[in-house]
Amino acid sequence: MRRRAFLATLAAALTPRLTWADVGSPVFLAAGKRDEDHFLHGLSAAGESLFRIPLPARGHAAAAHPTLAEAVAFARRPGTFALVIDCATGAVRHRLTPPDGMQFNGHGAYSGDGSLLMTSEVVAETSEGRIGLWDTARYTRLTDWPSHGIGPHEIRRLSDGRLAVANGGIRTDPVDRRKLNLPDMRPNLALLSEDGALLDRIDLPDLRQNSIRHLALSGDSIAFAMQWEGDPSEPVPQLGLWTPGSPPRLCPPPEAEAFAMQGYAGSVAATRDRILVTSPRGGALMLFDAKGRHIATHHRADLCGAASTQGTFTVTDGSGAVWTAEDRGLSPLSRADTRWDNHLVALG
């Protein structure tokens, strides 16, 4: 290691690790692009950027440490790196690289106390899913677990420590993301114990081409959002609800709006009594109640990022606008020259 790099690393290691309050108490993290540059932003509840940190390439999602002002920014699939960013200084504290032959798959989650980071990963050649486990003291790789499916995407930690894994079911080319197994894909939603044991798993035998990709927690249920890979003329639901121990329930919109999402859900978020699903392709979002009944559809081009905080939904779009979403409509919060990327991550 060159002397300067060594000193920089040493300095970074010695910097005290600050909390989210120290960086202005952002409420969300979001990746975005301005001109040709990519950044990770901390956003206030009003949708204003409190800080921005350069990223080397287009970001996908981030995972935020529960207490320390520290976040992991994941590259888009297939990801060969993830950056642990000190959100106070903008310094890259660690650069995570998956083991040889593995790729990050866009999402991650911290344990409740922040001591562990879990990352969704695939074996590059086969898209077989793994959950990588990292010790966050120095972000060293501990081990990995099977994800019990192909192509895991979002993972969510439940409050009791269990981990929900959306195994999207799609085998992709390790280099160009080409989808290789659409006729016989078989996504599933798996529930793992705190130590990685498979507790339960469901799939959708009648909708095997509906890739389960994104997750939100709604009370005792896991809300899962899907992307349809079958005939676009078939109306299929984009949202399902699963209370472990029961069969999953699908949540179709009214027939007249069956194609509003164009078969594609980009993000899902939940409050105590609502679930929100976005579709950048459809330029729409849908709100459902906690039982999965459709409440409203709102239209806006390229909506994708969605998160909830204190019972309120915030969504972002590719034109740089941040919105509050309620049953009665969308209200603009802020607008910037940053194209907001796929996901909005709520802190805390």
Partner: protein
């Protein structure tokens, strides 16, 4: 597919005005310094394309509902005229047409599982008592609109019951939907025209209105290539003329042709100075005119299928031209998240 503007760039007056006011050298320097986006003619699209198109459909749908006969021969001319009129605006799926699925209630196609006919058979069996306007509006969208009327006016097999009450109710329902669409395009058009003004939260800038209309152009061309042409085209070994749109009414080819003409009009109104795109449209239109295959039966033969295949390529080339030429000219590109896939 939603599209989005690039990062905000200072806007210039139209280049032509610039030249007139400041002389060639200054304009040339400015042009070198900043990308000059043409200003999309949102007003022309709203006032000369969308509003008159929806008004024409409302008139045609009303004329169909007003036909005082249930004889298919008496109804078919007005029915064909209504479908012609719808094809002039079918690509404008944003705004009024997406509210409550009204666009689908006019044209639910394709219907791979035959949901519409199933629902209609049940209605025919139940008799006329249930066919109030409210019932019709509450029906499955698959059982309403143009394809529903087509199944009654051009039945594949003799109908089990007198279709007259259902024909009347369906035509009346569609006329009402058409009227609602035309009415709501007044307000929605105002939103497009006032993009970026205080209080307009639908379109936060003029570029967003441009983006929305450009989206309609591109997705209209995609839908034409992928569905209206692509579904019957099938594969080389297995063409599927039976999947063609409006086959019973003998207007599969006509729908393709009229869609192209309508989309060309949208492109031309949105961005008149688009020679490559308009030339690509003209080529596709010429190919569509010379298919000589009204219900696409001819694609069962290799020579006929080849002609449709070439037309599909021409439509896709038109889409590519629009993206390459009109997008940059207006300063809008393809959707950041919509295209990403994740």
């Amino acid at each position: 597919m939603p599209l989005m503007p690039p990062p905000a760039t200072p806007r210039l007056p139209r280049p032509r005005e610039g030249r007139r006011r400041f002389g060639g050298l200054f304009a040339a320097l400015v042009a070198l310094a900043l990308p000059a986006f043409a200003i999309a003619d949102t007003a022309a699209v709203v006032t000369d394309h969308a509003r008159p198109g929806f008004a024409a459909f409302a008139t045609a749908a009303e004329a169909l509902a007003a036909v005082d006969s249930c004889a298919p021969d008496d109804l078919r001319p007005a029915f064909q005229a209504a479908w012609d009129a719808w094809t002039g605006v079918a690509h404008l799926s944003l705004g009024p047409a997406e509210d409550g699925g009204r666009g689908l209630a006019v044209l639910f196609w394709p219907d791979p599982k035959g949901a519409g006919w199933k629902a209609q058979r049940a209605l025919l069996a139940a008799g006329p008592a249930d066919l109030t306007p409210e019932t019709m509006a509450g029906l499955s969208v698959a059982a309403r609109g143009l394809p529903a009327l087509e199944r009654l006016l051009y039945p594949a097999e003799p109908l089990a019951a007198d279709p007259c009450p259902l024909i009347r109710a369906t035509a009346r329902d569609m006329a009402r939907t058409a009227q609602d669409l035309a009415r709501d395009w007044q307000g929605f058009g105002d939103l497009l025209l006032s993009a970026g003004q205080p209080g307009n939260t639908r379109f936060l800038s003029p570029a967003e209105a441009t983006q929305a209309l450009f989206t309609q152009l591109v997705s209209g061309l995609e839908s034409l290539a992928d569905r209206r042409i692509g579904r019957p085209l099938g594969s080389f070994d297995k063409p599927r003329p039976d999947l063609a749109e409006a086959r019973a009414a003998g207007r599969s080819q006509r729908n393709i042709l009229l869609s192209l003409i309508a989309l060309r009009d949208l492109a031309q109104k949105l961005s008149p100075d688009s020679p490559q795109t308009l030339a690509a449209f003209d080529r596709a239109i010429a190919l569509a005119e010379t298919l000589h295959d009204p219900d696409l039966s001819g694609i069962a033969q290799p020579a006929g299928r080849l002609k449709l295949d070439i037309l599909q390529q021409a439509v896709r080339a038109t889409r590519d031209s629009a993206i390459a030429e009109i997008g940059p000219a207006l300063g809008v590109g393809l959707g950041f998240n919509a295209l990403d896939g994740d």
